[in-house]
């Protein structure tokens, strides 16, 4: 597995040994960001007007020399972190509403006095020692920072792939917290974790978790999945980093991810041929495809494809099209990605014999993102894939432009035979 290995870090004090590595890494980051900037500038100059500038936001050069122990939010629109005397303020925003409804969390070091003001904020004592995450993405957020030991509860024990977490589940150290209406409030209150992380949609509010909050268990409602670009989604690791006081680590690791992603995106944008792609498996007459604002569409742009609905927006985040509207595209597409739960071509044809007429089916360029599905049926693409968009993009470029990444072995995707 030849993919860039990320240095494991530690919070807190920095021994001289690491200082050297840090310095080297910093210099390398500066250099690569400069070169990528240059590449992008060149691209901007040379690309014809038809392909507008790539939509990956650029990190501000100043963040490369970030304040120690601080981190900034560069891509995500769903949250902000601000550092105030005596603590940090994490604000979770609802990007869909006109007037932003925001929920604020005041992160106070344990034992310290609460800073004045921020009366409406929910207090969380940092660093958190125990965390209950109700979604598999929260597992990924935690595992990214190597803090799997902090996890004491999961929404469903089935949906977890990270090896360390699975070990802890097997050892009985992680409880099942239930989801939605079935939240095991009593067990959670008895467990009394430092934070419960839930996934909701913007504007939902915290009314459902009132029982927990009344018992003194803070609840944070994440909306990482409405972010419209892969990097923005992955950047939510910084929220967990702020909770664990691991800002330096996250800057390092996430910065690595960003650089790698942007390098790959540049490759994709530069590719001479942009193959056409169709995504998803229809059900009867309805075919859900990603719309212009979805992260999948961003992946497709960064991987250098021609996506028919690249400009079509939809408020729901995906387009519900009729089979007939998508069929002409599918008939002539070069590649077919994400074919639902099917793992073989026979399964696909068994669903509907007409799929066999699509060009990708005939040429065999059929790929599904379920390579890393464990015995419990949980697909790691939705877990670690969310925080490692660089791996996903590598997969996509390997599939779509094999000549650009000849040595890459597919990680999340597999060919459907």
């Amino acid at each position: 597995m030849l993919y860039p290995s990320l240095p494991t870090g530690r919070a807190g004090g920095v021994p001289p040994f690491f200082l050297f590595r840090r310095g080297f890494a910093l210099a390398a980051m500066l250099l690569s960001s400069l070169t990528s900037l240059g590449q992008v500038a060149a691209l901007k100059a040379t690309t014809p007007p038809k392909n507008p500038a790539p939509r990956t936001a650029q990190p501000k050069p100043a963040s490369a020399a970030a304040v120690r122990g601080h981190t900034t939010v560069d891509f995500a629109k769903g949250f902000t972190i601000s550092y105030v005397p005596g603590g940090k303020v994490v604000t979770i925003l609802s990007p869909f509403e006109q007037k932003t409804t925001a929920t604020r969390y005041l992160l106070v070091p344990r034992g310290a006095a609460r800073p004045a003001g921020y009366a409406d904020a929910i207090v969380i004592e940092t660093p958190i020692r125990t965390l209950v995450g109700l979604s598999s993405m929260h597992v990924a957020l935690i595992d990214f920072l190597g803090a799997a030991d902090v996890l004491v509860g999961l929404g469903s024990l089935k949906y977890a792939s990270a090896p360390r977490v699975r070990q802890r589940i097997a050892a009985g150290k992680i409880m099942e917290a239930g989801q939605g209406k079935e939240l095991h409030n009593e067990q959670l209150i008895a467990q009394h974790p430092d934070l419960v992380m839930a996934t909701g949609w913007p504007g939902e509010g915290l009314t459902r978790y009132q029982t927990l909050q009344a018992a003194g268990v803070p609840v944070m409602l994440n909306s990482e999945w409405v972010e419209s670009t892969p990097l923005a989604r992955a950047e939510w690791v910084k929220v967990v980093a702020a909770l664990l006081n691991k800002e330096d680590l996250v800057n390092q690791k996430f910065g690595q991810v960003v650089r790698e992603y942007q390098r790959l995106a540049a490759l994709g944008h530069r590719a001479a041929k942009k193959p056409s792609v169709v995504v998803g498996l229809p059900f009867k007459d309805v075919w859900y495809v990603p719309d212009a604002d979805s992260y999948m569409a961003q992946f497709l742009r960064d991987a250098g494809t021609t996506y028919h609905w690249d400009k079509t927006k939809s408020p729901q985040g995906s387009l519900a099209l009729s089979f007939e509207a998508v069929a002409p595209v599918a008939l002539a597409a070069d590649y077919w990605l994400q074919t639902g739960t099917a793992t073989t071509k026979t399964e696909i044809a068994a669903q509907d014999a007409r799929y066999a007429a699509f060009a990708p089916f005939k040429t065999g360029r059929l790929y599904n993102n379920n390579r890393r599905t464990n015995a419990q049926g949980s697909n790691d693409y939705w877990e670690s894939g969310a925080v490692r968009p660089d791996l996903v993009l590598s997969d996509l470029i390997r599939i779509l432009h094999p000549e650009l990444l000849p040595t890459w072995r597919l990680y999340y995707y597999q060919q459907v035979k």
Binding site: K181, F283, K284, D285, V286, L319, A320, L321, S322, F323, E324, A325, A327, P328, L331, A332, E347, A349, A350, Q351, D352, A353, R354, A357, G377
Partner: protein, 361 residues
């Protein structure tokens, strides 16, 4: 008495001579709807190209050929099968139960089919891989169809067994309603414990859809609907006798039990097969018989059955055209359109006739 016999007037010419004309008109409507349904859709295809493709000639754009032959044509054929099958079974139920609000779902068959589908989608869930049907080598789309058929067949067996022991049809009606309630409750229970994706998949199924019935599916559906229609037409005479009630029917020589079995079998085949392949589609079964009665102005099932068959096909084709919202990329669920069109029809019929009982025949 004798003088009037001498003065016997010749038989008055009945308005029935108009009725075959109406049947022809309905057949024409079906044809028109069929052509429209194939010509319209999200992708704009010129009518000449459509005709060429239907006639088997080659057209420049191969995508168009695919769309017309593989998507629109099977859909239109499915619409014809669905419309005629549901309308005829609705008519049978209305006459058998002497109830103007009865429809093909009144026996609980559609609820049974829904139970079967829910068993695969919700209770089976992600462990569908280990589901028994897969072991039989039947995967993908057939598993849903078989599950729905199994559910409907179960209900049909129950209803037939009860109908042999029951003299009053009202009891059967209540049995059907109770079956629908129980299956609805079980499905709700499964939904409560299911993941959102599964619930969404099941919800999509409940909207009903004419798409996806292709190839062998369409062949099986057409065959079963054909058999059901034949059985229904064979029950024209018993249905006519039943118009006056079961006592008169018995006195006229009808073996009521046997006829009831024939009618229930025909309805089960039609409603069960259609629900298995297309999901629950409402209102066609209830509204079309009323429409047909109002049009043909007769209670004779020898005219009403073919009339409902044609009217049902025409209405479903029309609804299918509406679901495609030509020009738009999105398609509406069929059940929604049929309800939106069907409910006002029923309202109109009821309000116009005032005496709802007499609108039955």
């Amino acid at each position: 008495m004798r003088p009037s016999q001498l003065l016997a007037a010749p038989p008055t010419p009945v308005a029935g001579s108009r009725r075959p004309a109406w049947l022809l008109a309905l057949a024409g409507l079906v044809l028109l709807g069929f052509v429209l349904d194939i010509a319209l859709g999200p992708v704009r295809i010129p009518v000449m190209a459509v005709i060429k493709i239907l006639l088997g000639q080659a057209v420049d754009n191969s995508a168009w050929t695919f769309i017309v032959r593989e998507i629109r044509l099977p859909k239109a054929l499915t619409a014809v099968a669905v419309g005629s099958g549901l309308a005829v079974s609705g008519l049978q139920m209305q006459t058998l139960f002497r109830n103007p609000l009865a429809g093909p779902s009144v026996l609980g068959l559609t609820a049974g089919a829904g139970l079967g589908v829910a068993a695969v989608m919700l209770a089976g869930g992600s462990v569908a891989n280990s589901f028994a049907i897969r072991a039989l080598g039947v995967g993908g789309s057939w598993s849903l169809v078989l599950a729905a058929t199994a559910g409907a067949a179960l209900v049909m067996a129950l209803v037939l067994a009860l109908s042999a022991r029951v003299r009053d049809n009202v009891v059967l009606l209540i049995v059907g309603l109770m079956i629908a309630s129980v299956t609805g409750a079980i499905v709700s229970l499964w939904q409560y414990f299911s993941a959102p994706e599964q619930i969404q998949e099941y919800l999509l199924w409940t909207f009903g859809s004419l798409g996806g019935v292709v190839g062998s599916h369409l062949a099986v559906l057409a065959t079963v609907v054909g058999v059901g229609l034949v059985l229904a037409f064979a029950s024209a005479k018993p249905l006519n006798a039943l118009l006056l009630g079961e006592n008169y029917a018995r006195s006229m020589g009808l073996v009521v039990g046997r006829s009831r079995t024939l009618i229930i079998a025909s309805t089960s085949l039609l409603a069960g097969a259609i629900t298995a392949f297309c999901g629950p589609i409402g209102f066609v079964g209830i509204a079309v018989p009323h429409l047909t009665r109002a049009l043909l102005r007769t209670a004779d099932h020898r005219l009403l059955l073919p009339g409902s068959c044609l009217a049902g096909a025409a209405l479903t084709l029309a609804c299918d055209c509406v679901t495609q919202l030509p020009g738009s990329q999105i398609s509406l669920p069929l059940s929604v359109v049929t309800s939106l069109l069907g409910a006002p029809v029923v309202l109109w019929v009821v309000l116009r006739r005032q005496n709802i009982r007499s609108s039955l025949s």
